[in-house]
Each structure stands twice: as structure tokens, then as C-alpha cells.
Amino acid sequence: MNTGGYLRGRRSPLTKRVSGLSERAVITFLFLASSAAVFITIAIIYTLVEGTFNFFSFEEVKLFNFLFGTGWVPSGRDPEFGMLPLISGTLMVAGGTIVIAGPIGIGAALFLSEYAPFKLRTFLKPVVELLAGIPSIVYGFFALFTIGPLIRDIFPEATYFNVLQGVIVMSFMVLPIIVSISDDAMKAVPRYLREASLALGATKWETSFKVVIPAASSGIAASILLGIARAIGETMVVTLAVGSVAGFHFNFLKEAQPMTSYIAQTATGDIPPGTPAAEAAFAVALVLFLLTFLINRIAGRIVFRIKKGSMAKREPSFLKKKALEIKDSILKKDTMIEEETVSRVIRIDRSKRSIPEKGQDRRLRIRHIKGTLGASLSALCLVIAVIFLIYLLYDVFKGGYGVISWDFLTGEPGWRVSELSIMPAIMGSIYLMLLTLVFAVPVSVATAIYFNEIARDTFYTRFIKRMIQNLAGVPSIVIGLVGLTIFVRLFDLGTSLLAGSLTLALMMMPIIVVSSEEALKAVPQSFREAARGMGATRWQTVKDHVLPNAVPGMITGTILALSRAIGETAPILFIGAIFAKTAPNGVMDSFVALPLTIFYWSRQVEEYKPFAEGTILVLLAILLTMNAFAIIIRYRSQKRRDW
């Protein structure tokens, strides 16, 4: 097809590199793009540190009280800034989430990995991952309006906002993380370990429970940690369902304010700017940032180890191995001679039996019952997740489809409940997404190409790679603060479409880099070697042979990232508006977006609820369409490719 393209331009092998200059220019560009991660990191640190500094420069704020105070009354007449109530809120949410999502997630992963037949598995895994594709605002809505009443029925003392409803919903939100990483870890447990156990006469359940789970324990631990990090950093569910009144307690039926909820409150509540109450958001965000950073770092290391293949947690470290060897060699001095004799002297005497035969039949029956029970339980975990998903979708659909009309989708919005329309929000979201695409994709793809194809493994590249990994774990509300500080205020872009999409681009960049890198890695090494072997330069190789084959993967990854961007609420909470009559028609215009509309309407009188549900339906429909596109592109490109 195009194989002859560059050969024609290189007839004489001695020709000076025609593309020398542009090659260098391209590589310089790629290098610069790859450094964007550094600037983003600096922006985050600048925002948080500067804001925190402002916060502590207020007289009434004391570091000791901030860290150990039990009262969080930031806007009171006599303000108190003791973080412990926010910490207790976050702890309750994260802890409760893990108590529910941990067992269910591990159970579901166990079923997928050990019990589900291949076909069922290929069907169920995407279903579980669908849970991850639902925007957090939808979860928050579901928690407040569907789970909430159920909880108040069961526990009449539960308040309207309570920790429990947030925890329940959050559990299903982090479930995909736990399931997919635990499942990977269990799948990575070598087959021969299972066989060893089965060959000893263990039941499948015993093998799963006593061999597979312990062998995968580090991966499972990592999945739990990542789940915790997600729960800690999640904003919309806690803002909508858990509450915005901080109290130092551990009552799950009461309202609480996790850290993210406070930060969000400074965006949506009536907290006066320029006061310690407003600046406190930055200090809280710094704590949040450091906390999630730490957890992600630890989990990241474990996952990295699993991916590299050294899965056994109990495999001794290099040092320990060495120590054992030395111990061995010392021991050997005495045993060497002895060993010879030992092995000759040995007589296997089967008359000494230890295992009683009596009762083994009964024991076996019990073991089988246990096995069946265990397997059913783990299947149940998956069923619970699927039921939750179906119920959520059904509930939103039931409530929302009635309000969907041509006017609702395309009309000019009025203010009365009967005249509501989401046209400006749909357009706002689409513009936001397209602009995010423009800002995030070139830089991200260039970064991926630079790291995967051009850069050598140096300290600097490892440093930036790690930085990008870390960026992926930054809570979205922190990104929101960064957008506010850097784009809205520092760059003076105001609360504009431009500022909003740049903020979302910050959020999406690490995701697109990772998916693009995966797409590049999927291109067989032989392609590069063949091209390089024929004398193509590095960039020519990338441009002519690697990129064309990686683009479908990149498009898929980008669409998935954008579908996440369109559902994000927290990053644009500080930037988006609540009402606009028309679609924005300039990048400097203020804008409304679908998730913000859902958020606003869900806090209005009950008459707005169906409209919020209708908006959720539209949002989900857009997400579903985008995902379907991504899947089609992936499928078609896989069908076409011959490698």
C-alpha cells in the first residue's frame, strides 16, 4: 500500500538525511509536549500551597487546631477550623465503602476468575465495568432519592442526608476498580498452583480460598487501596447524599461532611470569598491530595509488581534470598555428609498413619457443601452488582423518560417547571467536550509517542512517567480548584468555556496518555524493527508504521476518556453556571453543562426531580453512544488488522 513511500525519497543510500531538520523539530515538539505533565503538577502544587498559605496567614487559623481540632465551623461567628470532623466524615465514607465493596468485589472477582465459564465472563466483565462508566453525579442522585428513602424506612432515625446512603452507592461505584484489579491478580495466579492444590484433593472452593486468594493477596490489597483512594477523592456522591454539615461523630445514620464535600461547598454554598472559610478549601484539598497521593503510590507499586510478573507477596526479597543462601551454605557443611547417609538410611514406613479415615466421608460431604456455598456466595456478589446496575438504570428511566420531549431537548429554556429545557446544557457539554478534545489530545498523544517511541529510559523520563501516573489519581475536585486558581483567576479567563475545557483537559490528559501508550505498545515490535532496518528514522518509523496501526486504539481510548469528561461534575463546579438561555457561542462565554444541571435540579423542589432524571437519561444516552462508537472502532480495527 504505502510501503514504497519513503523509499522513493531515499534512492541513494548516501543522501544526506532529507528530513533531518524536521525530524529534530518533531522530536523537540514531542519532548515539549511530554513535559506538560510537569507544568500540570506545578500548577497543582502552586494552587494548593498558595491557597494553604493564604489560609494559614489568617490570624484565627492555627496549624495545631487545624490538624487536631474537633470543631469545623468555618462560617460561624466564632469560626473553628478543626479538621477532624472532615477527616471522620471521609474515614466513615471510605471505611464503610470498603467494608461493603471489599467483600463483594473480591467475591465477584473470585467468581469471574475461578468459576465463570469463558462466555459468561466475557459478558459479565463489561457489565461490571459499566458501573464505572456511570457519572458520579448519577450515583449521588440515586443515593439521595432512591437509597435514601429505603434507609429511612428501615432506620427511622436516619437523617435526610446520611453517611450510609452515600456509602452504599459509593460501594458500587468503586466495585469495578476492585473487581477488575482483583480479577487480574487472581488470573495472574499461575495455573500450576491451582493444580497443585486440586491434585492434593482440595475442592475448587478450598483451592480458590486457600491458594488463589492468598497468592493474589497483594493485588487484592492494591485493588482495595485504589478503591479507598477513589472513595476518598469522590465528590459528587458525598456532596449530594452525605451532606455538608461537619460533625465529629461516627454515626452512619447521621449527616457528615467529608473533605471533598467541604471543598465543593465553597463552590456551591454561600461561603464568602476571601475569608478563611473559603481559603480553607485549599488546605483541605492539600491534605486530600497528599492522602490520595500516598495511597495511590503504594497501590501503584503493588500493581506494577503484579504486572511485571513477580506476583507472590511472600516471595522473599533479593536480600532475604541471599541471606537464605548463606544460611544454606553454612548448614550444608554439617548436612552434606549427613545427607548422603540420610537418603540411604531412610525407610518410608506407611504403617504410621496420621490421618484418621473415620469421618472422612462425612467431612468430604461438608467440604463439598461449603464449596457450593462459597461458590454461590461469590456468584451472589456479582448478581448483587448486576441487580444494582439494572435497578439504577430502571429507576432513572422510569422517573425520567416522561419529561423527555422535543421541547425539553431543543427548546429555549424558561424558568417555570413546565418550561424547562436542557438545550443550552447539551450544547454546553458538547462544546466543552470538543474543546477538551482539542486541548488534551495532541499533547497527550505526543507525550505517549515520546515515551513509547522516542525517549530512552532515563531518570527524566521515568520521573515524568511517574508524574503522569500520579496525576491520574488526583481527585477531580482538586483539579477543579486548580482550574479556578490557574485558568479562571491567574490567566484571567473568567468562568468561561475556555477555562472549563482547559480544566477538564488537565483531568483527561493522564487518561489519554495511558490509553495511547497502550495502543502504541500493542503494535508489534517487528514493525518498528523492520522499518528501522530499512533505514527509516525514528520519527519516520513512528509516522509511517507505528502510528497508523495505533490510531484506532488511540481513538477508542480518547472517546472513552471524553465520555468520562462529559459526565464529570466536580472539576467544573467552580466554573460552570446554573442557568443560560442559549448555547454558548464563544469560548469566552459562560456555560451550563448537563452534570451541573442535574446537580442544581436535584437540590430544588421535588417537581424538578423528574427533569433531573430526564437529564440523567440524556447524559447516559450520550455516554452510551460514545462508548458504542469506541467499541465499534475497536472491533472494526481488530477485524481489519492482519497481526
Binding site: 465551623v73 468555618p74 462560617s75 460561624g76 461567628r77 466564632d78 435526610y160 442526608f161 455538608s244 454539615v245 454554598g269 454561600d270 461561603i271 464568602p272 470569598p273 476571601g274 475569608t275 472559610a277 429554556p413 424558568w415 417555570r416 462544546y431 470538543l434 474543546l435 478534545l437 482539542v438 489530545v441 495532541p442 473568567g494 468562568t495 468555556l497 508489534p524 517487528s526 523492520a530 508504521h545 502510528l547 496501526n549 490510531v551 484506532p552 488511540m554 460552570g576 453556571a577 442557568f579 443560560a580 438561555k581 442559549t582 454558548p584 457561542n585 464563544g586 469560548v587 469566552m588 462565554d589 437540590r603 423542589v605 421535588e606 472502532i633 480495527s637 481489519r640 492482519d642 497481526w643
Partner: protein, 342 residues
């Protein structure tokens, strides 16, 4: 098994991918260039009390495209002073401290919330009274002992000054009230409504020698603060012995769920909270829009304010749940309109 030499790059995807990117860029560029300028654009932000009104006006007004957002009165005034918004909504008067935050002289702000000189940012906020807000004290539908309350009783229920624990401890209710615990569901401290409510019932509120603090700050756990009116509404609907308060606009949409209490600022001049009774009802306050100076004729803000203060704009006010200016003072609207050159 990948072939060793497989140089058959499929460029279609590359073209498609770049195509999408280019289209996105064109659309984005169109976004920038598409500013046709037919209709002027205004940004309005601030008090969440004013928000529903602002949305209603923005929806009905056709001569400008207005984007509205909330964030609180302080945010509205601050955004105006920082030139981040054209119209700053507030449910309270501008204070010297608002000037202080942008590095201005507190003395330039009168006690009437007007600026006598520009802030360092060059902005001189000008105050427009656009409507009145009525605050409703709310109890459960089944509550038949506290259908009317005076300021003394409210003080006993809502402050930390020897507060009543049970309903029958509230002075004046006596034997008609049950011996049941009072539970308060009401806005939190960040809310302007909270400030306003206590300004009414606590003498010298906000001063160093104020008579009492709020029950929320007493820490006895009776006052359940919430940033969400929905919560307050539902909590009071579900709890026979609960009491709370929020804006009348919110009550108006939920008269079937809770009942509003008649209020007296003296001993027994009980008044019903309603839009028409605003002149007599003690808990009513003005709502403001601040602009940078008095916008001149032809300015989009001038036209907008004329609409807001004019009959069309004011006609919307009661529908949203607030009190239109004429009900309070018939000269208020016309006086302001004349400043706008109408």
C-alpha cells in the same frame, strides 16, 4: 503471531482521527469567531436567595443573553468588585468588609450598603432593590400548639440562652404543648437566611455585646443545620415535634407538606407570612442587585434593570415566591427607574 515484516499501515484510521480533531478545532474556532454580537451578553452571579428570581428574569428577558450562577451574596459582591460579573446578586447590604477583601477602604461603604467611591479595582458598586424576601417559620402539619409564635418564644427555642428542651417549656404555650423534645431543622451558618433569622430574634446580633448566640453554637445537638432546604422540608414533614425556617418562596411550593407559623415581633401582633402581608409581617428583607455605577442608557445592564424594575419584571416576582416592590412601597420601583433614565 505477528509477521516479521508487515508494512501494511492502515492510514484510514489516522485520517479519520485527524479529521475528527480538525473538525473539533474548526468548531472550536467557530466558537470563537461566532460571536455575532446581535444580543449582548450578561453574567449574573451571587446570592442563592436571589437565584430563582434571577433565573426567571433571565429566562423571560429577550434583549440579552444572561448566564446565571449562585455562590452567595459575598461571592456576588466580590465578583462584581473583581469585574468577574456584570450583575452581583445579594440578599444583604454591601459592607465595608467587602471592600476590604479587594484592598479597599472600608470607609467608602455607607451603612446603607452604597459606595461613596470606587474600590481599588475601579468598580463602584451601585445598589438596586429588586424584590423582598419573606422568611417563613415552619412546623409539622400536625402541630396544633405552635401555630403562632412571638419573638420571645422564638428566642427561647432558637438561641443558646437557657433554651427550652421540651415544647411545654416554651413560655406561653403551657399545657397545650406536649412534653416532647424540640428538634430544629434549619439552614446552616453559611446561609444568608440563617444570618437574617437571628438578626431578627437576637438583639444586637453580630455585635460584641449580642444577647445570645444561636442554638446551633450551643452544641446541644437540637439544631440540625442543613445547606439544603429540601432536607429541612422533609425533616419537618416527618417529625411532629420539629420546627425550622426557610424562605417563603420555598414554603409556597410546599404548603401541602408543612405549615407556616404566624409571627409576632411584639407580644401578640401575630401576622401570617404571605406575599400580600409583607408590610405587616416582621420577617421580610429586601433583595439587591449590584452593578458598577449606574449603567447608562443603551447599556445592556440598563435595559435589563429597567425590565426587572418595570411592570413585566415585577410581575414575575410573586410567581417565583417573593414580594414585588409595589407591595412594600409603591415609590420604590419608580424612584429607581428614574435613575435609569426611564
Amino acid at each position: 503471531m505477528p509477521p516479521v515484516i508487515a508494512l501494511k499501515p492502515n492510514r484510514n484510521w489516522l485520517i479519520a482521527g485527524s479529521g475528527v480533531l480538525v473538525i473539533a478545532m474548526v468548531v472550536a474556532a467557530g466558537c470563537i469567531g461566532g460571536d455575532d454580537g446581535d444580543t449582548p451578553k450578561l453574567v449574573q452571579t451571587g446570592s442563592s436567595t436571589v437565584l430563582p428570581l434571577a433565573i426567571a428574569w433571565a429566562a423571560e428577558y429577550d434583549d440579552a443573553e444572561i448566564t446565571v450562577s449562585g455562590g452567595g451574596s459575598s461571592h456576588g459582591i466580590n465578583a462584581l468588585l473583581n469585574k468577574e460579573t456584570d450583575l452581583g446578586d445579594a440578599s444583604r447590604l454591601m459592607k465595608g468588609s467587602d471592600y476590604e477583601k479587594v484592598g479597599g477602604d472600608t470607609g467608602l461603604v455607607t451603612s446603607d450598603g452604597q459606595a461613596t467611591g470606587p474600590a481599588p479595582t475601579g468598580v463602584t458598586p451601585y445598589k438596586w432593590v429588586v424584590a423582598y424576601d419573606v422568611l417563613a417559620t415552619i412546623v409539622n402539619k400536625d402541630n396544633d400548639w405552635a401555630e403562632k409564635l412571638n419573638y420571645t418564644q422564638l428566642y427561647k427555642i432558637f438561641t443558646d440562652d437557657d433554651p427550652a428542651k421540651y415544647w411545654d417549656e416554651v413560655p406561653g404555650l403551657g399545657s397545650t404543648a406536649p412534653h416532647e423534645k424540640i428538634e430544629i431543622y434549619a439552614p446552616d451558618e453559611a446561609s444568608g437566611t440563617y444570618d437574617y433569622f437571628f438578626e431578627e430574634i437576637i438583639p444586637k446580633w453580630g455585635k460584641d455585646d449580642m444577647h445570645a448566640d444561636t442554638r446551633l453554637n450551643s452544641g446541644d445537638g437540637v439544631y440540625h443545620p442543613s445547606a439544603d432546604d429540601n432536607v429541612i422540608l422533609n425533616a419537618i414533614r416527618d417529625n411532629k415535634y420539629a420546627i425550622g425556617y426557610f424562605g417563603f418562596a420555598y414554603y409556597k411550593d410546599n404548603t401541602d407538606k408543612v405549615q407556616a407559623v404566624k409571627i409576632a415581633d411584639e407580644d401578640d401582633n401575630y401576622e401570617e407570612p404571605s406575599l400580600s402581608n409583607v408590610k405587616n409581617y416582621p420577617m421580610a428583607r429586601p433583595l439587591y442587585i449590584y452593578t458598577d455605577g449606574i449603567p447608562e442608557e443603551g447599556d445592556a445592564r440598563n435595559e435589563y434593570l429597567r425590565y426587572v424594575l418595570g411592570p413585566e419584571g415585577q410581575a414575575l416576582v410573586p410567581e417565583v415566591g417573593y414580594v414585588d416592590l409595589d407591595l412594600v412601597d409603591p415609590t420604590l420601583a419608580s424612584g429607581q427607574l428614574s435613575k435609569l433614565g426611564a
